[in-house]
């Protein structure tokens, strides 16, 4: 039936025929295509970060290994962390924001389609700039949190830190522009009848994430500006010999950095909260509690940053306060976990791949959450900090948490995005291999960490009892890589298969399942109206199974015009930052030229008819 609907579409005269060709991608302002661009780019960066991780694991497989030099090892763990956080998990979430926030809201696009394209291009340029550093043999090498004063000119001469600092500044512009856009989209483009307390949970959690982005990113922007001034213009913000305080960097970095971990996990919470009800055939348990626990987590997320800094000796009062706020976060998080379990309890569970990944997420995230509560206690943290125990903890929440949930989202939404189903059998192999390999890689890190193996050190001596565990971890990492290869195989297989996914393959509850797979450019032929939290389920209850939606011509629907100015403006933004880094080589004229180029692009953008 679906195939006939699609072949039928080719005959319909259309104002919005499917666009093809490279130029159509460069000038696109369609949120769905931008979402696909985000997803594809982020997945490539994810694989690069994975290769960096494999090199690290290969080096650590044996004691006193000489596979990597200490210098290269520093570059690899720095780029692995920076890549996975800023170039993989964040933009993979952004891919889903782009594709599904407007669809779940019942909107035709985001509030500012060209600004959306701009965000993607700035993100791409920032990611490329970070990775181009490898070609200059100057990849960042001071860790993803780049502690001062290791990053000052005295201890880090060369371009390594410059690439990191400038790359992150460029990426920050992309995140902020996107956050303003999605915040406005959720506030203003909800369909008729969609009150805030009727929004799908993915959209809710994404909305909260935008608030975190808006309030957290300016702080790292300032931290990086101060570092930039120290390195380029001779100030002394982080230089103790001149009265500067390196701890200021830690405060600014973690005031950003802790909300950042919720920026990485809240969208994952949202995905899981979509998948569980659909595959349990039950509405989400405790909708309001889910919303408010998400808000509470975000609020508390700004009050816990110094738990990353117990080892700096802040004194008993600060330690106690931040320890308490940190433990407090376990409460709303626990509320969420019980609600997910409550959603599944008594449901008619459909053990499809998306559900498996979501259940895997809950289990892995609980393990990561429990170790997190352990180092909320300062005395415990002083033992665990900078050891592999911490590495185990944040991989359980970021890989076991975010990546499992995002993979669940990929299996869940793939048919909607591409009109093709991913294979269930391969998906199940993917899940079980990934789950086993993940635990094989990261569970032993708890033990070697508590036995004293420090993180970020390129090797370890024999005879300390680390050998077996490290070898197991490396084997696990290789199997993890294999599980990703299986995922890629599944994608290729689907790509070669027919484009015949039905509009609603999972019996979904939210608006994106009411329109054809993949959706037409204008999303909704008729702007929808909702009366409940699960509008599609309500409709199916009243009318029985819904017929496959027709592909229509969409005559008279006005959509924003394609534009290349977002890309050109993005080159202006990246150019301004890059030219700052080049002052020592090219002088100020290049900065001035880039500012003028940026202004030229902005004015062309503004006066271009939308």
């Amino acid at each position: 039936m679906a195939t006939s609907a699609i072949s039928h579409a080719d005959q319909v005269p259309s104002d919005h025929a499917e666009k093809r060709g490279l130029w159509s991608w460069i000038t696109t302002v369609d949120h769905k295509r931008i979402g696909i661009l985000y997803g594809a780019t982020a997945f490539i960066f994810f694989l690069m970060g994975g290769i960096e991780a494999l090199l690290i694991r290969w080096q650590l497989a044996r004691p006193e290994n000489t596979f990597l030099s200490p210098e290269l090892y520093n570059e690899l763990f720095t780029m692995h962390g920076t890549t996975m956080i800023f170039l993989a998990v964040m933009p993979l979430s952004a891919a889903f924001f782009n594709y599904f926030i407007p669809l779940q809201l019942g909107a035709r696009d985001v509030a500012f389609p060209r600004l959306n394209a701009f965000s993607y291009w700035v993100f791409l340029l920032g990611g490329l700039w970070l990775n181009i550093s490898f070609l200059f043999n100057a990849a960042p090498n001071a860790g993803w949190f780049g502690y001062a004063n290791l990053t000052t000119n005295q201890f880090s001469p060369g371009l390594n830190i410059d690439f990191w600092m400038i790359g992150l500044q460029i990426l920050g512009v992309a995140s902020l522009a996107a956050a303003v856009n999605f915040f406005t989209t959720v506030v203003n483009l909800r369909a008729k009848g969609m009150k805030f307390m009727r929004m799908p949970m993915f959209t809710w959690m994404s909305f909260i994430t935008q608030v975190l982005l808006l309030l957290a990113f300016p702080v790292i922007t300032v931290a990086l500006i101060l570092l930039m001034f120290d390195r380029f213009f001779g100030t002394h913000f982080y230089i103790p010999a001149s009265g500067g305080d390196p701890i200021l960097w830690q405060h600014l970095f973690w005031i950003f950095g802790h909300p950042e971990v919720y920026i990485l996990i809240l969208p994952a919470f949202g995905v899981v909260s979509e998948v569980l009800p659909v595959f349990s055939r039950k509405p989400l348990f405790g909708y309001a509690a889910m919303v408010f626990s998400g808000i509470f987590i975000a609020f508390l997320g700004f009050g816990v940053w110094a738990h990353h800094m117990f080892a700096t000796g802040m004194g008993p009062i600060a330690d106690t306060a931040f320890s308490l706020t940190t433990m407090l976060i376990a409460i709303p998080t626990g509320v969420k976990i019980f609600n997910w379990l409550g959603t599944m309890a008594g449901g008619s569970l459909q053990m499809k791949t998306p559900l498996l990944f979501s259940i895997g997420f809950i289990a892995m995230f609980i393990i990561g959450g429990l170790s997190g509560v352990m180092h909320a206690s300062p005395p415990a943290d002083l033992q665990q900090t900078d050891s592999y125990f911490i590495v185990a903890h944040f991989h359980y929440v970021l890989f076991g948490g975010s990546i499992f949930a995002l993979t669940s989202g990929a299996y869940y939404w793939w048919p909607k995005m591409f009109g093709r189903m991913l294979d269930e059998k391969i998906g199940k192999v993917h899940f079980w291999l990934m789950l086993i390999a993940f635990n094989l890689t990261f569970f032993p890190m708890h033990f070697v960490g508590l036995h004293g193996m420090p993180r970020r050190v390129y090797t370890y001596p024999a005879g300390l009892g680390f050998e077996t565990m490290n070898m197991l971890e490396t084997v696990g990492a290789l199997l993890l890589a294999l599980s990703q290869a299986i995922f890629i195989w599944n994608i290729i297989k689907a790509w070669r298969g027919p484009r015949n996914a039905p509009a609603d393959p999972w019996n979904g509850a939210t608006l994106e399942w009411a329109i054809p797979s993949p959706p037409q450019e204008f999303n909704f032929a008729v702007e929808p109206e909702v009366h409940s939290r699960d509008p599609l389920w309500e409709q199916k209850r009243q009318q029985g199974p819904l017929p496959e939606p027709e592909r229509v011509g969409g005559q008279g629907i006005h959509l924003p015009n394609p534009s290349f100015w977002p890309l050109l403006t993005a080159t202006g933004v990246a150019g301004i930052f890059i030219s700052m880094m080049m002052i020592q080589f090219l002088g100020w004229w290049f900065v001035v030229a880039m500012v003028l180029w940026f202004l030229f692009s902005v004015y062309n953008w503004i006066f271009e008819p939308a």
């Binding site: 909107a107 035709r108 696009d109 509030a111 500012f112 389609p113 060209r114 600004l115 902020l176 956050a179 303003v180 856009n181 915040f183 406005t184 506030v187 203003n188 483009l189 909800r190 369909a191 969609m194 808006l214 309030l215 957290a216 990113f217 300016p218 702080v219 922007t221 300032v222 931290a223 500006i225 101060l226 001034f229 213009f233 001779g234 100030t235 002394h236 913000f237 001149s242 009265g243 500067g244 305080d245 200021l248 600014l252 005031i255 629907i557 006005h558 959509l559 924003p560 004015y603 503004i606 006066f607 939308a610």
Partner: protein, 200 residues
């Protein structure tokens, strides 16, 4: 200056123009930007290892004048917006020109102040006071300059008769930004200038 499709322009869930929601959102984000800069300034206040210090350098009278000009410019832009909304072209042009001139004189005041201090031997490299002072007030000045550029663009459009009452929203958004930049200065002025002799 619209950045969304006409299909989306007709109605929004809140009834507010999306650009207005966006500028408020951006202003919220900017609060954290200036909070971080002001925090850094306060943390390093009195921590310079060598002079010149804030107490020795800063001169209140000149900056009080600049502050007054900036505060009045917020009033001017309100009058300009009122003119635009009522379709009173003369009022719009007069008050918007006054706003741009006031913004320019503030920037001029700051350029004079900075070069004066540099002549007296305070650069961004001299000590922590120099670094934090120039960074904080410099980023504020950059925001003022962007505002001047924005308002001047609108002034040119107004001269060409492009700011009709239906398009007054374009000026309203710029005015919101302008008020924000003004409010930030209301915090910076006492923290940096009036408290210059404060000993932490």
């Amino acid at each position: 200056m619209s950045d969304h499709s006409h299909a989306l322009e007709h109605h929004t869930a809140t009834g507010l123009d999306s650009r207005k929601v966006a500028i408020w959102t951006f202003i919220g984000s900017e609060c954290m930007f200036f909070a971080s800069l002001i925090g850094t300034y306060l943390v390093y206040h009195g921590k310079s290892l060598s002079g010149p210090t804030a107490g020795e350098t800063l001169e209140i009278p000149l900056v009080t004048g600049g502050t007054a000009v900036l505060l009045f410019s917020s009033f001017f832009v309100v009058m300009a917006l009122n003119g635009a909304q009522r379709g009173n072209r003369r009022s719009l042009l007069f008050w918007l020109s006054a706003t741009v001139l006031a913004g320019l004189s503030f920037v001029g005041m700051q350029i004079y102040e900075f070069s004066h201090f540099v002549h007296e031997g305070l650069t961004i490299k001299t000590n922590l006071f120099g670094a934090t002072f120039y960074t904080l007030t410099g980023f504020h000045g950059t925001h003022v300059s962007i505002g001047v550029l924005w308002l001047a663009t609108l002034l040119i459009l107004a001269f060409r008769g492009k700011i009709t009452p239906e398009k007054a929203i374009n000026l309203e958004i710029a005015a919101l930004y302008w008020h924000f930049v003004d409010v930030v200065w209301v915090v910076i002025f006492p923290v940096v200038y009036l408290m210059k002799d404060w000993k932490p």
